[in-house]
């Protein structure tokens, strides 16, 4: 899986990494029992203080997403899928809630907002289909963006 830190994001770098792991687990791109990169390797890769990476890993460990194995680093914990899915739903409900709040605050009617959400879902599906045609489905495992948009359909129902 790919990790990246966006310096312009309002989310702190450590939380960005933790979110990326949780979204990857929730979307099935990171399976239970899979090994995560070591703190030092990841710190070098994303140019971040290793203490920050290790704090993110520790938080994931405390919430049951990761488990340490003696002498060999961090692995995705057995109960991680459920934890990660709950987190994903909550985080995205909040994000979508903010976007919907912006739309309503700007004077759109609730129906118009629903139409916009439906349009966005359709556009995303179309983009996904063209991407699937051009590349093998197994290769489409990049970015947390995709996982975040999958969640829009249950919101809409």
């Amino acid at each position: 899986m790919r990790f990246e830190v966006d310096p312009r994001s309002p989310v702190s770098p450590g939380d960005q990494l933790a979110d990326q792991v949780r979204f990857a687990v929730a979307a099935g791109r990171l399976a239970v029992g899979e090994r995560l990169p070591s703190v030092r390797d990841l710190a070098r890769l994303v140019r971040l203080n290793p203490n920050t990476v290790s704090r993110a890993w520790r938080e994931l460990e405390l919430t049951g997403v990761l488990e340490p194995r003696r002498g060999s680093g961090m692995y995705v914990a057995p109960g991680a899928l459920e934890v990660a899915r709950t987190f994903r739903t909550r985080a995205l409900a909040e994000r979508l809630g903010r976007a919907v709040g912006d739309a309503l605050g700007a004077g759109l009617a609730p129906e118009e907002v629903q139409d916009l959400v439906q349009c966005a879902c359709a556009a995303w599906r179309a983009a996904e289909n063209t991407a699937r045609q051009s590349t093998h489905p197994c290769d489409s495992r990049d970015g947390a963006q995709r996982g975040s948009q999958e969640e829009e359909s249950p919101w809409n129902k």
């Binding site: 702190s12 770098p13 070098r44 140019r47 203080n49 203490n51």
Partner: protein
Amino acid sequence: MEQVKELAISVRGLTFGYTRKAVLTGVDLDVPIGQVTALVGANGAGKSTLLSILAGAEPYRARFELPWRRSKAVVRVLGLDPVRQGHQVRAAVGYVPDRTDLPKWMRIRDHFALLGALYPTWDDAEAARLLAEFDLEPRMRNAELSKGQRALENLAAELAHRPRLLLLDEPFSGLDPLARRKVLDGVIAHLCEDGRTVLLVSHSIADVERCADHVALFAHGRVTRVASVDELRASNERGDLEEALVAVATEGRAPSAAAGRAA
């Protein structure tokens, strides 16, 4: 949450001035081993002076003091006094000032040969590796280096003796994005080794956020507040570190200064 282990730097009641006007007006600062602390504050607040004192480059008191005029300041760097044990401090500390004046004719390999003689822990292989990573050649003369290359050369020189404590004075200022990224890579790689401590002066919020565990706010010649980067972020409702820093730096100066003195 984090256990405070041994301290790499411990400063109490440090006052200092070049003339009668004090530059440092009672600095209290603790830097734990294995952590990165960023000193943040306005220009001319005395951050660079503090760094040069900690590096043993500037004596904060006389080597031998008359008993009735003894300075009350306590400065410990890796458990040593930078005045009385200056040699040991300088050998164990890597200090990259904001500018260094090397003779223009000096080649990088001459500079490194000098440092190799000075530092007992100098590592030639590491120096060569760093130069290659920073795209520098040992035969380059100081006069032909750009500002960014000069900053990288200074950093390589201080990383190559694997110091336990690294003092960086505005390592990212005035660099192009590529040089900035290389400096960041060098600092991160240094941090990835065990028990390395860094004290960093920087105005670049993005770099402070990437590198630092703690931020020490510096104003009017002393440390007014120390907070973890996460605490600072949390103090701003939008999680904006820059806003949080500005707020902390400008919020009622008197109370925060009093708190700093009490701590």
